[in-house]
């Protein structure tokens, strides 16, 4: 797959991150209909979808280097963003194998994996990494295997152990999260870590989702989209760092809302791991400023309707009340009220 990587931009401070036209057109827009409500919106994670973001098993894009640089900065300040419980060592190696094989296959001009029995050589050209190690021996890598590979792949990751007919969040690399904490959730069961989500418990979404995931089959990964809004293209909106990003909410005005407000979409993938029988949960986040998003005509109109008519409890949970009206007013001129096709494809090939 042809992947062009930009020099590292920033997701903090001066927020130099911008989406190119190509990046805007490949954005995984999350609203197939005008109205949004929680559902078990999972589908098989097969190659191909409404945009190019669905073409790889684990998608990388032009922001790769900036993303990885931001992750390294977060880990310097807070090493607890990457934690794995001791019984998850098999899942660590499963993750490393899966991510290395996927990247080497999907982006072969940037990554390569050479195996000679258990002696593996991993080359990551964009990050200038060329390491030889012994698969299964953690002391031959500079970091534990899960941390080693997730420092090199965009998106947050958690690993869930399956036991007692439940899933337990027993490890993760979480540096670009929408206001949740791995350090708080580590070791929790499925309903426990989903505790704060409103409405969905009452309509049985989590009971059904858990039953479905317990039977997730090897080789048949599934995906779903989740979304929220973030002020500025900031990856690290963690509870631990709320003092750093919370005040940003007060800086949004009718004049700057288009430039400052970002739609944050998570392309979530769930993959059964072989040796450990654990589930790898990939939370691949994408940020797009409203002024970038409205350049796709259908998306501007659709987002206007979704935000305008959003269930108040969901709007509250997503931290929206302070600026919801400003967003609706900003988007309204991009919505002529015409009926939009179902689905999320941009329906235009250039901007």
């Amino acid at each position: 797959m042809n992947l062009i990587i930009k020099p590292a931009e920033t997701f903090r401070g001066d927020f130099s991150m911008r989406n190119s036209d190509a990046a805007i057109l490949r954005f995984p827009f999350p609203f197939p209909e005008d109205n949004y409500m929680y559902a078990v919106n999972m589908e098989p994670h097969v190659r191909g979808g409404p945009t190019a973001a669905y073409d790889a098993v684990f998608d990388l894009d032009e922001h790769y280097l900036g993303d990885m640089q931001d992750r390294a900065l977060v880990l310097i300040d807070d090493p607890l963003r990457c934690q794995v419980l001791p019984h998850m060592m098999d899942a660590q190696w499963d993750t490393l194998e899966l991510l290395m094989e996927s990247l080497a296959q999907d982006f072969s001009n940037h990554f390569s994996l050479t195996k000679n029995g258990d002696n593996w050589r991993w080359v990551n050209r964009p990050m200038k990494i060329d390491d030889t190690f012994t698969f299964g021996r953690a002391d031959t890598l500079p970091y534990p295997p899960f941390e080693y590979i997730t420092r090199q792949v965009q998106g947050d990751f958690t690993i869930q152990d399956q036991r007692d007919d439940n899933l337990f969040m027993d490890g993760g690399m979480v540096t670009s999260q929408a206001d949740w904490s791995l350090n708080f959730d580590l070791g929790m069961a499925f309903h426990e870590w989903h505790g704060p989500v409103p409405v969905a418990h009452e309509i049985g979404v989590f009971d059904r989702a858990l039953k479905y995931l317990l039977r997730l089959q090897y080789g048949k990964p599934v995906r779903r989209l989740n979304w929220t809004l973030t002020v500025n293209p900031r990856l690290d909106t963690s509870p631990e760092n709320y003092p750093l990003w919370g005040p940003d909410k007060a800086t949004v005005t009718a004049q700057n809302v288009g430039a400052k407000m970002c739609l944050r979409v998570e392309l979530q993938t769930l993959t059964r791991l072989p040796r450990s029988n654990a589930i790898l949960f990939g939370i691949r986040g994408y940020l797009i400023r409203l002024e970038e998003l409205v350049r796709v005509k259908k998306w501007g109109a659709r987002l206007h309707r979704a935000i305008r008519d959003l269930h108040p409890e969901i709007a509250e949970y997503k931290g929206m009340p302070r600026y919801r009206q400003m967003i609706v007013e900003y988007l309204a001129p991009f919505d002529d009220g015409a009926v939009l096709n179902a689905g999320t494809a941009p329906e235009q090939s250039s901007l």
């Binding site: 559902a39 078990v40 919106n41 999972m42 589908e43 098989p44 019984h87 998850m88 098999d90 899942a91 499963d94 194998e97 299964g136 152990d161 399956q162 036991r163 007692d164 007919d165 049985g204 009971d207 059904r208 989702a209 039953k211 479905y212 039977r215 089959q217 090897y218 080789g219 048949k220 599934v222 072989p274 040796r275 450990s276 029988n277 654990a278």
Partner: protein, 307 residues
């Protein structure tokens, strides 16, 4: 996935070990201890889909190995493999699935197998050994089969072969285990029932008792559905789901997860009694027989669907 039979070894007159390699010579997907594969065995009138535990270690990606016992009253698949499986022949398999994984939190693993139930534990053994795990394995078989199983079992003090009914004292064995021991049982149904009952009687919690099962099949008894709107009659065969039967008839019913959870493929039932296997329908619809999830559920009678 198409594989080629790479080797066939007779371990006894009724037991064969068969090795499969990827037909294109590529590496097979990493498997898992306890995983099984579905073999698509070409019978004279139809394809049998039989599940076999992998006996090769998870990291073995050049070949998958299975052990097949010729079953007296089998559906035909195991007999076909015994009579016709030849080196070089091609055979289709499904991806490995694991319904019998090793617990990641157990501090001791107690393995009980009987007869051909030895197979998943042959894949467990190298994993437990490599991880320096605390384990104990008791295998039971008929005296006549002892040479074949004895040759398969590693010589270790943790592993015992029992060839008579009375040499394994289940109550004593299960009663002396420490709290964080997990129990794994694989063998004929009668053997598994006895072992599970013994453990339950001694107070073992359910989540620490693991039994091998090849669930997850979408098939079952055949049934018929009548589609009220399109005026079609569809026969759902024993090897296919209602959803697949509708698709095979050229229809395009909504679906998403194909696993009974998402709710997309719910179809209204006008007449008849469904046999529900889904996790979606609320209790009321379930008992009133007003809806069916086409991807996993079947029927006890002929159904009339509003579709």
């Amino acid at each position: 996935m198409i594989t080629r039979i790479a080797n066939v070894v007779a371990l006894s007159p009724t037991i064969k070990r068969i090795a499969l390699e990827a037909a294109e010579g590529a590496a097979l997907p990493t498997a898992a201890a306890g995983a099984h594969i579905l073999l698509h065995i070409p019978g004279p009138s139809r394809v049998w889909k039989n599940a076999y535990s992998l006996v090769s270690p998870p990291d073995e990606r050049s070949k998958y190995e299975i052990i097949v016992r010729r079953v007296e009253h089998s559906r035909g698949g195991s007999a076909w493999l015994h009579d016709h499986a030849e080196i070089g022949a091609k055979i289709e398999i499904g991806l490995p699935a694991n319904l019998f994984p090793i617990s990641q939190v157990a501090q001791k693993h107690l393995l009980l197998s009987a007869g051909i139930g030895i197979t998943p534990f042959l894949a467990y053994f190298p994993v437990l050994q490599a991880g320096a795990k605390n384990f104990e394995w008791h295998h039971c078989c008929k005296l006549a089969d002892a040479p074949a199983f004895s040759a398969l079992l590693p010589r270790r003090r943790e592993i015992t072969l029992h060839t008579g009914r009375n040499t394994l004292n289940l109550d004593s064995l299960l009663g002396r285990q420490k709290l964080n021991t997990h129990l794994y049982i694989c063998g004929p149904a009668e053997f598994m029932d006895v072992a599970v009952a013994a453990a339950q009687k001694l107070g073992w919690p359910g989540e620490k008792i693991h039994t091998e099962s090849f669930g997850g099949a979408t098939g079952g008894a055949p049934f018929t559905v009548k589609l009220a709107r399109s005026n079609l009659t569809i026969n759902v065969g024993p090897e296919e789901s209602l959803l697949e039967a509708l698709e095979n008839a050229g229809l395009n019913p909504p679906c998403l997860c194909r696993g009974g959870a998402c709710g997309e493929c719910e179809l209204p039932v006008l007449e008849g009694i469904p046999e529900h296997h889904d996790h979606f329908l609320p209790e009321q619809k379930r008992v009133q027989n007003t809806a069916i999830m086409a991807c996993v559920s079947r029927a006890k009678t002929t159904l009339v669907l509003d579709f």
